[in-house]
């Protein structure tokens, strides 16, 4: 058994609207092991960003966590006061947001922002925090840290800003970093830089990462294990190679087939028919059944739970690829 750092059990998030309550995240359960990269992949509206935000309770009304247990290193996070959570965010759980533009305060120098964060999380005095901030600036691959320290965010390019955001998330030396679409706003060549940096820092510091993305290519290169989300539910989770190469859930398979790959000469892609149901509109039983080629009567009747099939867990009554295996 691996050493679980973060345990999430039955995490449920609801959205309260004028016309009632809808479930946005439906009983999510998964672990993040110490020092691993867990990829969370899904299409927009699947609930992947919500999962990240719910773990450290960054949800804003009308979204609300209405159920589930979350523990980090054995300590319960749910039910903690806002004050206690605030000290955990940043110090024990770092957060990298998608948009490097809005994650930095435009009116403060980047050095000040880094040093202040370090001082808060480590209790260092000003001089020591400044020294540490300079180290982090060069550690994330920005040259001339002394000069860069005194500059404002607008002096940096998009890729450089995202490096600073990563430094901000990691400088408190957290056990876990939640990276929400960290490269989506960036160009391909910059994306490769940022992912390389994340990988290197992950190896150096041993921090665990939850990498939230819609890009299966990023998952393939980065994640040790991968969870697939669909309509607010976790439909498959397992080792990345297993999930991508031998998917058990038809949705995972459909996603792989619909994704174009520049190495292949396919002239035609295989889309999944229809589109993901909107919030609160998932069909009964299996949420994917209306788009699934393998759906049968039982898929509408009962909701499939996550069950281990070989090496990965899938929430499907008719998992793929088992005819040969068993």
């Amino acid at each position: 058994m691996m050493d679980a750092l973060l345990e999430v059990r039955d995490l449920t998030v609801t959205l309260r609207s004028g016309s009632g309550e809808v479930t946005a995240l439906d009983q999510l359960s998964f672990n993040v092991n110490r020092g691993e990269v867990l990829g969370l992949v899904g299409e927009s509206g699947a609930g992947k960003s919500l999962t990240g935000a719910a773990i450290v309770d960054l949800l804003v009304p009308p979204l609300k966590r209405t159920g589930g247990r979350i523990s980090l290193g054995g300590e319960r996070l749910d039910g903690l006061s806002e004050e206690a959570l605030a000290s955990i965010r940043g110090k024990r759980v770092g957060y990298i947001f998608q948009d490097p533009l809005t994650s930095l305060n435009p009116v403060l120098t980047v050095g000040y922002q880094l040093a202040e964060t370090i001082a808060i999380h480590t209790g260092m005095d000003r001089a020591a925090a400044r020294q540490r901030a300079l180290e982090w600036i060069s550690r994330v691959g920005i040259s001339d840290p002394e000069r860069r320290y005194a500059q404002y965010p607008h002096h940096f390019s998009g890729g450089m800003r995202q490096r600073l955001v990563i430094a901000l998330a990691l400088c408190g030396e957290p056990d876990l970093v939640i990276a929400d679409e960290p490269t989506t706003a960036l160009d391909v060549s910059v994306q490769a830089h940022i992912l390389t940096l994340l990988k290197r820092l992950h190896e150096e510091t041993g921090t665990a990462i939850i990498l939230i993305t819609h890009d299966l290519g990023v998952i393939a290169k980065m994640a040790d294990r991968t969870g697939v989300l669909y309509a607010g539910r976790l439909v498959e989770i397992g080792p990345t190679s297993q999930v991508l190469l031998a998917p058990r859930h038809p949705y995972t398979q459909g996603l792989m087939r619909a994704t174009p790959d520049h190495r292949s000469t396919t002239a035609r892609l295989s889309p999944i028919r229809g589109s993901m149901p909107g919030l609160g509109r998932a069909p009964s039983g299996c949420p994917f059944r209306t788009r699934c080629d393998h759906a049968e009567a039982d898929c509408a009747a009962t909701r499939p739970e996550l069950v281990l099939h070989g090496l990965s867990d899938a929430a499907c009554h008719h998992p793929l690829g088992l005819g040969v295996a068993t």
């Binding site: 927009s44 699947a46 919500l50 909107g278 919030l279």
Partner: protein, 310 residues
Amino acid sequence: MASPTTGAFRQPRFPLLAQLLRSPGSAAAAVVAIGLIAAAFLVPPLMAQDPFAPGGAAIWEAFTPPVWMDGGSSTYLLGTDNQGRDMVASMLFGLRTSLVVGFLAVGIGLVLGVTLGLVAGFVGGVVDAVIMRLADIQLAYPALLLAMIISGAAGTVTGPQRSVSAAITIVVVSIGVSFWVQYARTVRSSVLVERDQDYVAAARITGRSSVAIMFTHILPNVMGPVLVIATINLAIAIITEATLSFLGIGIPLTQPSLGTIIRNGNSYLQSGEWWIVVWPCLLLIVFVIAINVLGDWMRDALNPRLKRRG
């Protein structure tokens, strides 16, 4: 943040109405505002006597206090004024005049401002610069002062003895003209945003003319904020009318408006007949508050940032 997929919630048939009912304060304001407007336009034509017509009032019943006071009469619930006119009837007649002035003034400001704003935003260049500098110049004058200047200037043309309809026209125009800048600025900034939207590019590629794009595509998309301003301007117009009339440079005393009624009643405040001035003041306050609450609610309800992706 993962935004909920578009169309996640079924759109009600009358989305604005449903939204209004969910906000009790705004719903109450709507009821008050619409109720008063309806009363002002529907009740006076039904009344047997126009209290402001010659012989329309019973002078011997002047200064009757409200019904609950000594000497009050159940015929005059809120009492009568110095001419024996029923306060309730007077106020309804007065509100009607004030509303007519308000609606016409807002209409003038709206047509003028929206057209100039559209042209400034869409054409740009020198035309834009000229229109917006004019707007800047006008903004340097408070609306009331501007209305007083226009009213005074018009007075030198018509002479001191102007007809009632001429007086009303002058009030309407002077208030209306003081409004156009707001509309023009709002429309212009919306046009600058909409002009660069892809649907406009699509229409251009299809070969639609600039005028067609301006009026069929852009205009409907910039009307939301305009309606909000128009609502709030209605309240401002009514206050401005009351102020001008109170100062004696608006509507003549022979024509009832909230302003003239308050001006008339003001003379009797010291001598104890407080009701002649207090009721119309209260009506003015209640109506203006109701309109402003409604306007605030509309601003939120029509906010394109809350709506567009929702």
